[in-house]
């Protein structure tokens, strides 16, 4: 069993703090660079990649590529401006895909 790493991609002001915890930090605000970073990390033994929603919203195709593989798990996180609701949207999409109807979020009147 080999060791895997964790990476964070996002704007510097939000994610720099993760560095203290020993997580690899890749600060960028450019979507093209973010997408390249994801591809690079996916090849380099990164099991979890956290990415801010602000970046993720422009590179959905890249993220979708890894949805079917076991690793890396690409997980959206909010940045310091708050959440865009994309992360929870992803959960909602999974529900719709599996069940065909939205049973978890329907009550909230969306």
């Amino acid at each position: 069993m080999s060791m895997y790493k964790i990476g964070v991609i996002g704007d510097k002001d939000s994610i720099l703090g993760f560095k203290v915890l020993g997580i690899s930090v890749f600060p960028t605000t450019d979507m093209r660079k973010a997408s390249q970073t994801i591809k690079k990390l996916a090849k380099e033994n990164y099991a979890i990649i956290f990415i801010t929603e602000q970046l993720a919203k422009d590179i959905e195709e890249t993220i979708d590529e890894y949805k079917r593989s076991v690793i890396p798990a690409i997980i959206l996180i909010p940045n310091n401006q708050g959440t865009l609701g994309l992360g929870i949207d992803g959960v909602k999409k999974s529900v719709e895909k599996a069940i065909g109807a939205d049973i978890l979020f329907g009550k909230e009147g969306r």
């Binding site: 790493k5 203290v20 798990a73 992360g87 999974s94 599996a98």
Partner: protein
Amino acid sequence: MAILRVNPTRMELTRLKKRLKTAVRGHKLLKDKQDELMKKFIDLIKKNKELRESVEEELINAFKNFLIARAVMSSDIIEEAIMYPTEKISLELEKKNIMSVISPVFELIKNKEEKEDAEGIYPYGLANTSGELDNAIYYLQKVLDRMIELAQVEKTCQLMADEIEKTRRRVNALEHVMIPQLQETVKYITMKLDENERGNRVRLMKVKELVQKDA
């Protein structure tokens, strides 16, 4: 319903009956799998939702502190302060099989550097840095374990959703296409064979009649 294009022979009939049996059995098995997957999925996705909501909240809280820290300190000092983390973390990955869905199980491994005067996780001295930075890092560290858990649950949910969709397609294809088609074809062949049988018998009777008339 369209029937399969086959020769109406006895051999074909046996073959088709066998296929029909397999299809029905496969359908039942897949349906059971789908039900079980669905049950697991619903439990898991509820957990996913709760986890995500709380993690997001905590993260935003941590980021807020970090933002203030950045505002009161110059970025040079911040970067200097956090340049050398005392902790190194890595993940161990195990693969778990839930109803043929291969899902990851992450385990966090922290390798702390042994330092005698190190206080907690803070890699910097307290002189040049503000309290907000301490707070931000404290919160981040607290949420990390849950973030890993979230990653695991969310990934599993994604993979499961995929598998459920695939299974549902298969169940539907069997239920609405394969099985009716096979049933129709079996019926068609049976009728055709019976018809042949009757035709044969009539012919024999006719021949017998002719032979008896001549004699």
